[in-house]
């Protein structure tokens, strides 16, 4: 007897499944197919390679891999694929999900706990999915005196800003959503939106703890934006470009962290502060002000803010990799695509299948992605690590750090870059 469903019977379960199948087929035949044919009268079907693309042809293409692969190939070149799947949202969300799992297990191990354990067979690997389902199914409660339009809009805007940030990060040569000339300035502009969204969300909840948290977030983000921008200027001076792809490509022989370690350290610390991570997690200090500016958010609104936070974490780690650790550059470790498959196709017994459109990804792209992901995972690990080790610092210490020490160090970094440039070590006529 199951505890969850005491009246469970297998025969009834199968019967209900068959019932569903019956009704689906019936409705599809009686309503679905006529509707499709009625629509087909109206739509003008495209002609591809001299053939009219009828539904039958489209279905036969779907099951024929020699015809499907070029379609997939063409789809991967489109902007939609880049935004939704590979260098954009899907890829970043996947890495973010991995980050959450690693964070929870690693923190648990650091503090001699077990961490998520029961969801999924192996080490609670499905815990994130369980949490997501819980957040989706929870009711969204809005405080009675909240400013509703802003309160609703803030989580969505937060995710949108984080996704816009992700769009600037180049993953492999040519694989970036928005390859703009002023990529780094775009990043600065997008980072500038986070404090506004935070303070508006905190204010609109009309509650004590969110407002305290929001004010703290505003202090922290605005004061750390300045050393963040200044610490990246050294690299811009040495590269002579604001395009992130060019900055990554300029590090083919050595990463900039070799020459500008001060800038890298300053950028890393400001990154921790912008991400509101321990030791700078004052805006959501859970032991003082409940959950800071997230206190009144419930259900999927909280889920969206969490998603945005982890997307932002990935984007900052990716930015660190692109600017200081050489981006996709690394030794070629991915083997080339086997030439026999390209020439002869795959032989399976009597059948020889020739695949047009292989390989789907070039060797450079796979290698670049591999190195980028490895480096990003390393940086994310170092972002997560302080959470298990450090206590939270006070707000006056935080502001003192940001306004005096970090800005000073960022200027030192700029002078190091200028010295290297004028001494002829780097830049035109130098090593690179």
């Amino acid at each position: 007897m199951s505890v969850i469903a005491p009246k469970f019977k297998l025969s009834e379960f199968i019967k209900s499944l068959l019932d569903n199948v019956f009704w689906i087929i019936l409705i599809l035949v009686l309503i679905g197919l006529p509707a499709i044919f009625m629509i087909l009268f109206v739509i003008e079907l495209p002609v591809i390679n001299g053939e009219l693309l009828t539904p039958f042809l489209a279905l036969s293409w779907l099951v024929n891999p020699t015809r499907t692969l070029p379609i997939v190939h063409a789809f991967m070149e489109t902007d939609i694929f880049r935004v939704i799947a590979f260098p954009g949202f899907g890829f970043a969300a996947l890495l973010a999900a991995g980050t959450i799992f690693v964070e929870r297990k690693m923190l648990a191990k650091l503090q001699l706990r077990v961490g998520p354990f029961y969801c999924g067979k192996f080490e609670g690997i499905l815990q994130l999915m369980g949490d997501g389902l819980k957040l989706i199914s929870k009711e969204i409660i809005i405080p009675a005196k909240a400013d509703k339009p802003i309160f609703w809009a803030a989580p969505v805007l937060f995710v949108a800003a984080a996704a816009a940030f992700v769009a600037f990060i180049p993953v492999a040569p040519g694989w970036v959503v928005a390859d703009v000339e002023m990529g780094l300035l775009g990043v600065f502009a997008v980072i500038g939106f986070f404090p506004i969204i935070t303070i508006l969300s905190a204010w609109s909840a009309n509650s004590k703890f969110p407002f305290i948290g929001g004010i703290r977030a505003l202090f922290q983000m605005v004061s750390f934006e300045i050393p963040l921008i200044l610490s990246l200027l050294g690299v811009v001076m040495l590269t002579g470009s604001l395009n992130l792809s060019e900055i990554a490509a300029s590090q083919s022989s050595f990463p900039w962290i070799v020459f500008l370690p001060v800038g890298a350290i300053v950028f890393f610390i400001t990154m921790l502060a912008e991400l509101e991570r321990i030791p700078f997690d004052l805006p959501e200090a859970e032991s003082e002000i409940v959950a800071g500016w997230l206190t009144e958010l419930s259900g999927m609104m909280y889920g969206l803010v969490q998603l945005g936070t982890y997307l932002k974490l990935y984007a900052f780690a990716g930015l660190f990799v692109v600017i200081f650790l050489g981006g996709w550059n690394g030794p070629m470790v991915v083997p080339p695509f086997p030439a026999e498959i390209l020439e002869n196709g795959i032989e399976m017994g009597p059948v020889t299948a020739k695949f047009v459109g292989l390989p789907l990804f070039t060797q450079e792209m796979l290698n670049g992605t591999l190195w980028f992901v490895l480096k990003t995972a390393g940086v994310i690990f170092f972002i997560l690590l302080p959470r298990g080790v450090f206590p939270r610092i006070r707000v006056d210490m935080l502001l003192n750090l940001g306004w005096t020490k970090l800005i000073g160090l960022a200027f030192v970094n700029i002078f190091i870059a200028l010295g290297l440039l004028y001494a002829g070590v780097l830049g035109p006529g130098g090593l690179q």
Binding site: F188, L218, E225
Partner: protein, 170 residues
């Protein structure tokens, strides 16, 4: 396409500027101000000047608007809305506005806007930077000194006597 975008941006910019002045709620007013500043950034994008546009976004929408929001949230409403209105102030205000508009218009008309050509290649931001540190360097240094002076002044104004000692004494 460009005309439609221009019209949309103009509607957004002017509409949110009017909203920023007229809305009763101060927070919504400052959000509308953000809309105006963002619309101006859009105009710069339309003019092939992404450098200026992104700085407009980063500085005006990102920082100035935050400062305004901050002020609005933390300062009491009565302090902002203390109205002193009489005839003399009104006429001086109108006169000041006329002077500023006439001088701005004179600057515009004098800047060569009459002989504008629309299909020139967009200026490179590197050239602008080189111009700043060569031909226009006195203006740059003057601006730097002004900003440094204003930051120092703000620090002096914001500095207060240590409250802690007072509490201890009492």
């Amino acid at each position: 396409m460009a005309e439609a975008v221009f019209l949309a941006l103009a509607v957004i910019t002017i509409g949110s500027a009017i909203a920023a002045l007229e809305l009763r709620s101060l927070i919504y007013g400052s959000i509308a101000l953000m809309g105006t500043l963002g619309g101006i950034a859009g105009f710069f994008f339309l003019l092939d000047a992404p450098f200026v546009a992104l700085f407009q976004l980063a500085v005006y929408v990102g920082s100035i608007a935050v400062l305004i929001l901050f002020t609005v949230m933390l300062v009491k409403r009565e302090l902002i809305f203390k109205k002193i209105e009489d005839k003399r102030r009104k006429f001086v205000g109108i006169g000041l506005m006329l002077v500023i508009m006439v001088s701005l218009g004179a600057v515009f008309l004098d800047s060569g806007i009459k002989t504008i050509t629309t299909d020139e290649p967009s200026p490179n931001f590197r050239d602008i930077g080189i111009d700043f540190v060569t031909y226009y360097w006195p203006a740059l240094i003057l601006m730097g000194l002004l900003l440094a002076g204003s930051v120092t002044g703000a620090l002096v104004l914001a500095k207060r006597e240590d409250v802690e000692n007072d509490q201890r004494a009492s």
